[in-house]
């Protein structure tokens, strides 16, 4: 495969003495791949390995009256059948590791199930076949409840309550709003002045990552009262922290080995295999494997969450977009997992790579009785990007402009102020558009051909809006989100995180939060290619002469910075 390098762009910013960038290089793991020696989690042999299979809800939404494991327990080869009360701490939310969100999801459901496939019991047996046979003999007495599968239906009054932590089926942001807001300028005033109003509705279904390797983990007792755990996870430290919390075990008793993943694409970042495998090893004293089969991977495995977006643009007759309003709904499925963060990430991305002086967004993290959603390629971004770009074409059609000319006209340039109040740097949309047009043989206006990301930005375009219309719409009272969110981040001292047994936080961060100087990088610490929430980033204000202190706060999550 040949790659074409267009080195004439930004030539003076480039150092071409690099040894790796821009040159083909052999993957460091490909020898293992072609010899069949790359060690995926299942490529480890244990004598006396036990197999875990789950009993799963056939219903989208149901209360559990009774779980009868008596017959299953006596079946051939069955060593133990686990239910919710066997889990030391049977409630979690993934981002509690970053003190964001409220524990809402059990490892094994005890009182109700909120999605088809949710596990309520786990059979541990000598062989996989025996475990399957015993699963079929667990009797669950279900009280089937009405369910809701659409984001806008789920937020209507009277909709079934999916997740009891959030009775209105919406995640609560910053302890006070039932959605994430972005306010920049005044879109309503700009709509009144605009020559055209262009509206669109865009949506996508959940998308299953479908890696060839299914999710799984093998755990076994190890020396020094530790457990070793081989896992398919993409997020080793997240998985270790989650296991430590659910099993109320100090993390130094867990020895996690991963790093060889048979395809993840984001679908292996919120894995819950390790806690069950380790619990099995703890309770049986033997190695335990818990892995999904293909049907579970497709049905139960968390997909990229569905999204629905309404976009309304105010456009002048020359094609300039002067206002953009978003209403977005992320389908989190039955539990929060990473969807709350996906929205923060997505909102930081709005209104797309364009300089628009008035931007408004209300984005909801909605609970439905669908499979809980997670990350996938361009987590939190790709769905809204589809909506934005489809909408740009619609705007171009409305004003009678070539869609590429429209994009170049509205593209951000270096020095422009973006809606999340950061200056745009290293922009390159214009150059990408120009090369695409050239390759596709699409003729552009002279002004488009002459445009450059390095010119015409900043100045007036670098100024914050004189007036930003704010509101208290969607305020929620009486809900205690705990932790950091309760304090809203505006006051000096960050709240203490919920205590995790066996894990003590380092000394609290300094009570004076440093004011952030004009940052040299985008606010969202995660790059748009990241499929997993990144670890707490180095404080952008930490410019080397100021050492880090105390706990790292993932302050970007809430988007709150003091200016």
């Amino acid at each position: 495969m040949t790659m074409e390098f267009r080195k004439e762009f930004f030539a003076d910013e480039r150092d071409d003495n690099l040894n790796e960038i821009g040159k083909p290089t052999r993957r460091q793991d490909i020898l293992g791949h072609v010899t069949g020696r790359s060690p995926y989690f299942d490529d480890h042999l244990f004598d006396g390995l036990l197999h875990i299979r789950c009993v799963r809800s056939p219903h989208h939404h149901a209360r559990i009256r009774r779980i009868d494991i008596a017959e299953a327990q006596n079946m051939p080869g069955v060593v133990r059948v686990l239910v919710g009360r066997d889990v030391p701490r049977n409630l979690n939310t993934l981002l509690s590791l970053l003190d964001f969100g409220i524990d809402d999801e059990p490892l094994l459901a005890e009182t109700k199930v909120a999605y088809k496939g949710e596990p309520v019991a786990a059979v541990i047996a000598e062989t996989e076949a025996q475990a399957r046979a015993a699963v079929a003999r667990v009797r669950v007495d279900w009280d089937v409840r009405p369910h809701v599968l659409d984001v806008e239906e789920a937020i209507k009054p009277g909709a079934p309550v999916v997740c009891e932590v959030y009775p209105a089926n919406k995640f609560i942001y910053h302890g006070k709003y039932d959605h994430q807001k972005l306010r920049y300028g005044d879109v309503e005033a700009a709509f009144a002045r605009a020559d055209h109003i262009v509206e669109g509705r865009y949506q996508m279904s959940p998308i299953e990552q479908a890696p060839i390797e299914t999710c799984g983990a093998i755990a076994a007792p190890e020396t020094n009262d530790r457990y070793v755990c081989y896992t398919s996870t993409q997020a080793l430290f997240f998985s270790l922290g989650t296991a430590a919390k659910l099993l109320t075990m100090p993390s130094n008793r867990l020895h996690f080995i991963g790093g060889t993943v048979g395809g993840g694409f984001g679908g292996k970042v919120d894995s819950l295999h390790e806690p069950l495998a380790i619990l099995g090893a703890m309770l049986t004293g033997r190695p335990c494997k818990f892995a999904w089969d293909r049907e579970e991977e497709m049905q139960v495995g968390a997909p990229r969450g569905a999204e629905r977006w309404y976009i309304k643009d105010g456009v002048m007759r020359d094609g300039r977009i002067v206002a953009r309003k978003f209403t977005g709904y992320f389908d989190s499925g039955a539990y929060t997992r990473l969807s709350s963060y996906a929205i923060i990430k997505g909102v930081g991305h709005l209104p797309g790579p364009y300089t628009i002086p008035n931007v408004y967004a209300d984005v909801y993290c909605v609970y439905t009785n669908r499979t809980p959603a997670t990350a996938m390629r361009g987590f939190g971004i790709t769905g809204v990007d589809f909506a934005i770009e489809a909408h740009m074409d619609k705007v171009a059609d409305t004003v009678g402009m070539n869609p590429i000319d429209l994009r170049i006209l509205n593209a951000y340039r270096d020095g422009d102020m973006k809606a999340h109040r950061r200056e745009a740097k290293n922009t390159a949309l214009i150059e990408c558009c120009q090369v695409v047009a050239e390759k596709a043989g699409i003729g552009l206006q002279a002004s488009s051909r002459a445009a450059s990301s390095l010119r015409d930005g900043g100045g007036e375009r670098a100024r914050l809006p004189a007036h930003t219309a704010v509101d208290q719409k969607g305020t929620v009272t009486g809900i205690d989100t705990g932790g950091y969110a309760r304090k809203g981040g505006a006051s000096g001292r960050p709240a203490q995180p919920p205590s995790m047994p066996g894990y003590t936080m380092p000394a609290a961060a300094s009570s004076t939060r440093p004011t952030a100087p004009s940052p040299a990088r985008p606010a969202a610490a995660a790059s748009s290619q990241s499929t997993a929430p990144p670890p707490p980033p180095a404080d952008p204000a930490n410019t080397g002469d100021r050492p880090r202190q105390g706990a790292m706060r993932f302050s970007s999550i809430s988007g709150l910075r003091r200016r």
Binding site: M1, P24, R26, R27, D29, I30, L31, G32, H33, V34, T35, G36, R37, S38, Y40, D42, D43, L45, L49, T127, E128, A129, A210, P211, I212, E213, T214, T260, V261, G262, G263, G264, F265, D293, R294
Partner: protein
Amino acid sequence: MAKTPIVFMLNGAERASFAEPGQNLLEFLRRGVGDLSPKYGCGQGTCGACTVTIDGETHLSCLTLAESVVGKRVQTAAGLAAGATLHPLQEAFMENFAAQCGYCTPGMLVSAKALLDRNPTPTREDVVEAISGNICRCTGYEPIIEAILAAAKGRARA
């Protein structure tokens, strides 16, 4: 339930182990014999990650009864290399970026080798058909096709 003794040839060497009734060849190779190169992707015969050859023909080991290989010659990806010397297909896969996560790779290599063993000068269509029973979620297949054609031409690089 009685286990069945299985004596067979694996990658040119005689091997023996016991299979549970109804156990599939994939599980038997991995856990009964210790050859971890064929992989579990679906257990339904759709993905091809478990591909092995039995008496020279490609088979899906997840859909093969372990005891059906008694006295037969089974080859897996682990048997492609001759000691430390890689098969030209393995070299070609490495040179042509024909693997990313690597999970489909053992099955792909077995299907590719079966093709080249019976047709040393395949067309591109022949290659596409030969790997049509192996799903890859990472590469988009082009690098794999190029690697197989390159190996057929006797060069590692396409």
